[in-house]
């Protein structure tokens, strides 16, 4: 199994570290040809507007859309915005997941926060069901899930922060900034289901 991490900008190195800790072959992706040998792709945190500019310029948008038709993709924070259909703003998006997101929905950096989440789906990789400690940085909110997309995690007040649509995954928060590998393991299950 080989997993790519989109390395146009952002915290791709943090994802690579966690993947390698799970003994997975992981590589940086900057150009379309680098998608060829991959079984799954992570789009990291960063600035979604920067991803958009660079993805358009280097011809990545269509290849990423085609990749996402067949194989697993997981977007964290800016990555979640990038895989969504609608971000209420004129910026390039992959439109793979039938979700709409609100950028910077919690406010500016002083409102960035940590919180524990109840994520029942993670019991598939670790049955102990302990809370998942999540880090939100100028985070987007998943406002609505439609069609085949389903809610995976909510904040206590009910706002949606993680969603799944078949082999596609979106999280408002950053599992790559923690030591907890459960979300990465969960994603690897999705990757295997499409191999």
């Amino acid at each position: 199994m080989q997993i790519g991490v989109l390395a146009l900008q952002g915290d791709f190195a943090e994802h690579l570290v966690l993947l390698r800790r799970l003994d997975v072959q992981a590589v940086e992706v900057r150009l379309p040809a680098q998608l060829d040998s991959l079984d799954g792709l992570i789009i990291p945190g960063g600035e979604s507007t920067t991803f958009g500019k660079l993805a358009v310029h280097y011809g990545l948008v269509e290849p990423l859309r085609q990749f996402g038709q067949r194989k697993a993709i997981w977007g964290t924070c800016a990555g979640a915005i990038f895989v969504s259909k609608d971000a209420h703003r004129d910026q390039p998006l992959l439109g793979l997941m039938d979700i709409s997101v609100a950028r910077n929905a919690f406010g500016r950096q002083v409102a960035s926060f940590e919180a524990n989440l109840d994520v029942p789906a993670l019991c598939q990789v670790d049955p102990d069901g302990r809370p998942y400690h999540a880090i939100f940085i100028r985070a987007p909110l998943i406002e609505a899930v439609r069609g085949q997309a389903q809610v995976l995690a909510k904040l206590e007040d009910g706002r949606i922060v993680a969603a799944q649509e078949g082999h596609l995954l979106a999280t408002s928060f950053h599992p790559e900034l923690t030591e907890d590998t459960r979300f990465h393991q969960y994603f690897l299950q999705l990757v295997r289901s499409r191999m």
């Binding site: 390395a7 791709f12 900057r30 960063g46 600035e47 002083v110 926060f113 919180a115």
Partner: protein, 295 residues
Amino acid sequence: MEEQTGTFAVKKGLAQMLKGGVIMDVVTAEHARIAEDAGAVAVMALERVPADIRADGGVARMSDPELILKIMDTVSIPVMAKCRIGHFVEAQILEAIGVDYIDESEVLTPADEAHHINKHAFKVPFVCGCRNLGEALRRLGEGAAMIRTKGEAGTGDVVEAVRHARSVLGEIRRLQNMPEEELMAFAKENGAPYELVVETRKLGRMPVVNFAAGGVATPADAALMMQLGVDGVFVGSGIFKSGDPAHRAAAIVKAVTHYNDPYILAEVSRNLGAPMVGRNISTMPESERISDRGW
């Protein structure tokens, strides 16, 4: 569980999101729009770019909050702003208006000749400049969540940025080869908190994100800093003091992403128009250097 804000993880985390990106100095909302359109990961809102601060002389202070707020309203990317070294009230004001990062910057005239701000006291994160590892670790000890090597701002001469990056990264390499019993002496000689010396050695890098700054003027300069091993670059006067800012800004963004690909670097370096004129640091009087500010 209660949601916790202002933790070190979220302060340091925002800098992690900026990695592999370019943070651009902007003096108007229009500049900010150009920077965002070019793919900047954040903008530094200020009244004058460092080259003009140099040319104008006098005391350089925090920018008018009105200007910073206008820029915050214009772009969706994070907005940073500078306060003077040690001027914790300017920092309180910047936190109050909601900037995303504060740069306690030597580019402004220092307000305190002995002390930096206690950055632990703030919810907003701080980035600080350094010339060497000891200075960087002192700033981390005070609560900075991001470091930038200083270079020599407003010159367009990359030589000091290179010197400072080589100094920091070289000292980390030296630490890694050092037997444990020498770490306390290293901490003492470099004026660095011992615990942070130990942690840096263990990680093989600083425990926070480290950008380059001060003199980056071309895509090649930016890629040079990335290949030396920094996490991203600040470009100050280099963009908006050049002949074609939008084009140059986009080229520097691409150069930072593809810093290891000489063919792409060659492509993005073509036809950028005139770079900023620049000041040669080797012929600059000692008194005009600003990287010496910081204690």
